[in-house]
C-alpha cells in the first residue's frame, strides 16, 4: 500500500488519453489501455469511463525526458513509466516514457503490461516484493492473452476498494515458493546439467552447485512458449529439450525454439486418441524416451525416430506402484517420478523404487 493509504473517494472514475506514441497504432494503444483498466475493474467495484477534451481522474500520456513533474525520464530502458497516487491534479496520472519501444507484443515493452502496472499506482497500490505480482517493480513480459491478475495484486486492491460486485469472486495465480510443502509440478526436465521445474507460468531452476533455487517466468527465456507446460524432457545427445502442452510440442535449443514448432504430438507416433502427455523422460544410455499418459506409457526410439512396437503398456507393469505421473526426469542413472507432492526414485536397472521423498527435496529447504 502507498503510505497514507490514498484512495479514490468514488468508484466511478474517468480517464483520458492525452496523446499517443507514433510507435503503435492508436487503436492498439486504446485497446491496451482499456484492457489494463479492465483487469482492475474486474476485481473491484471500480468503473472507468473515457472522457475527451476535459480533465479526468486518470490522465494517461507519453512524455519525454524532463516533463515538469520533478521526475524526468531517462531515455530508452531504465525507467519505463511512472504514475501518481490518487488525488487531485496530477494525482492518478500515468506517464509513459516516449523513448521506450512500445509494442503490443513481446518485443520491446508491452504497453498493456506497463500501463496495467502503473494503474495500480494510480489506484493507490505501491510496489510488491512478490516476483510474480503485477506490482513487482521490474518489467517482465506475459502474453496479454494469457494474463491473469495475480492473487497478490487482487488482495492488495481489494483491501483498498473491496471486492468486485460479481457473484463469484475472481482469484488469481499464486507465485510458487520453492519450500512450500504443497508444491507440485507441471513438468520437470534436465537442461545442460541443471534441473528445470515448470509450474504455471514459472520455472524453478536448480543448478547442482548452487544452494538457492532461482524463480523465473518461462517467458523470460522462451517468450513464445505457453505457460502450463505439461511434459518436458532433454535429449542430451542433440542438446535439445522438448516441451509438451496439450496436443503440441516444441523443440528448444538453448534460448531458441527450433523453427517449424509447435508440431502435433501425433508426429511422434501417438494415436489420435492421445490428446496430451503428462510426463516424459529420456534415457541417455539407451536412447529410449518414455512418455506417460494417464495410467499408460509409450516408448520412443530416438535413433529410429519412431515409437517402439508393443506400446502403450500399463505404468505399473514396468515402474511399480507410482500411480499417475505428473512429471519425471532422469539424473545420474535414476529416474525421479513426481505424483502430487510425492516423489519416487526409481532404478531402471533393477526396476525398483529405491526411495520416496517429498516433491521439494531438490530445493535444500
Amino acid at each position: 500500500f502507498t503510505a497514507g493509504n490514498p484512495k479514490w473517494k468514488k468508484n466511478n472514475l474517468t480517464y483520458r488519453i492525452l496523446n499517443y506514441t507514433p510507435k503503435m497504432r492508436q487503436a492498439d494503444v486504446d485497446e491496451a489501455i482499456q484492457k489494463a483498466l479492465s483487469i482492475w475493474s474486474n476485481v473491484t467495484p471500480l468503473t472507468f469511463r473515457r472522457v475527451e477534451d476535459k480533465d479526468a481522474d486518470i490522465v494517461i500520456s507519453f512524455a519525454y525526458r524532463d516533463h515538469r513533474d520533478n521526475s524526468p525520464f531517462d531515455g530508452p530502458n531504465g525507467q519505463l513509466a511512472h504514475a501518481f497516487q490518487p488525488g487531485e491534479g496530477i494525482g492518478g496520472d500515468v506517464h509513459l516514457d516516449e523513448e521506450e519501444a512500445w509494442t503490443k507484443y513481446e518485443r520491446g515493452y508491452n504497453l498493456f503490461i506497463v500501463v496495467a502496472h502503473e494503474l495500480g499506482h494510480s489506484l493507490g497500490l505501491s510496489h510488491s516484493s512478490d516476483p510474480g505480482a503485477l506490482m513487482y517493480p521490474a518489467y517482465s513480459y506475459t502474453d496479454p492473452n494469457e494474463f491473469l491478475l495475480p492473487q497478490d495484486d487482487i488482495d492488495g486492491i481489494q483491501a483498498i476498494y473491496g471486492q468486485s460486485n460479481t457473484a463469484v469472486q475472481p482469484t488469481g495465480p499464486v507465485t510458487p515458493q520453492a519450500c512450500d510443502p504443497n508444491l507440485t509440478f507441471d513438468a520437470i526436465t534436465s537442461l545442460r546439467g541443471e534441473i528445470i521445474f515448470f509450474k504455471g507460468r514459472y520455472m524453478l531452476r536448480k543448478h547442482p552447485s548452487r544452494t538457492e533455487t532461482e524463480l523465473n517466468f518461462i517467458s523470460l527465456f522462451w517468450s513464445n512458449l505457453p505457460s502450463g507446460i505439461q511434459a518436458a524432457y532433454e535429449n542430451v545427445e542433440r542438446d535439445e529439450v522438448l516441451v509438451f502442452k496439450e496436443s503440441k510440442y516444441w523443440v528448444i535449443r538453448g534460448y531458441d525454439i527450433a523453427p517449424g514448432y509447435p508440431k502435433p504430438i501425433h508426429h511422434l507416433g501417438f494415436p489420435k486418441t492421445v490428446k496430451r502427455v503428462n510426463a516424459a523422460y529420456s534415457d541417455e544410455t539407451t536412447g529410449k524416451t518414455y512418455f506417460f499418459v494417464a495410467d499408460r506409457y509409450w516408448r520412443y526410439d530416438e535413433n529410429k525416430k519412431s515409437m517402439d512396437h508393443g506400446y502403450p503398456r500399463k505404468i505399473v507393469s514396468n515402474f511399480g506402484k507410482i500411480g499417475r505421473v505428473d512429471a519425471a526426469f532422469q539424473k545420474d542413472g535414476y529416474v525421479y517420478f513426481f505424483h502430487g507432492t510425492t516423489q519416487f526414485q526409481f532404478d531402471p536397472r533393477t526396476k525398483r523404487i529405491v526411495r520416496q521423498m517429498k516433491s521439494i527435496s531438490w530445493f535444500n529447504c
Partner: protein, 84 residues
C-alpha cells in the same frame, strides 16, 4: 594512464547503485562529489533494504545479482516512501 577496465567498471557500477538507491530507496542526494564522505553504513543500509525487497542475498554489497536486478527495466515509482 587510462584506468584499468575493472576499476572503470567498478566506477560505473557504483554510479549505477548510487543513482538506483537515490531514485527508488530515498538515498539522500547531496552535492558532495565523493561517496566516501557519506559514511558507508548509510549506503550499505539502503543497499540492504533494496536487496531485502527483491529477495536477494542481503550483503550490503553491490554483488552480481544485485547489479543484474538494478539493470532491469522497471517502473519509475520508488519502492519505498512517498511518490508525490
Amino acid at each position: 594512464f587510462p584506468l584499468a577496465p575493472e576499476t572503470e567498471d567498478e566506477g560505473k557500477n557504483l554510479q549505477l547503485v548510487e543513482t538506483y538507491l537515490q531514485n527508488f530507496y530515498n538515498l539522500e542526494r547531496d552535492k558532495k562529489p565523493h561517496l566516501r564522505n557519506r559514511g558507508e553504513n548509510v549506503f550499505a543500509a539502503k543497499l540492504k533494504e533494496m536487496q531485502e525487497f527483491f529477495g536477494l542475498h542481503v550483503t550490503g554489497k553491490p554483488d552480481l545479482h544485485t547489479l543484474e536486478m538494478m539493470k532491469k527495466p522497471r517502473c519509475g515509482v520508488p519502492d519505498i516512501g512517498q511518490y508525490v
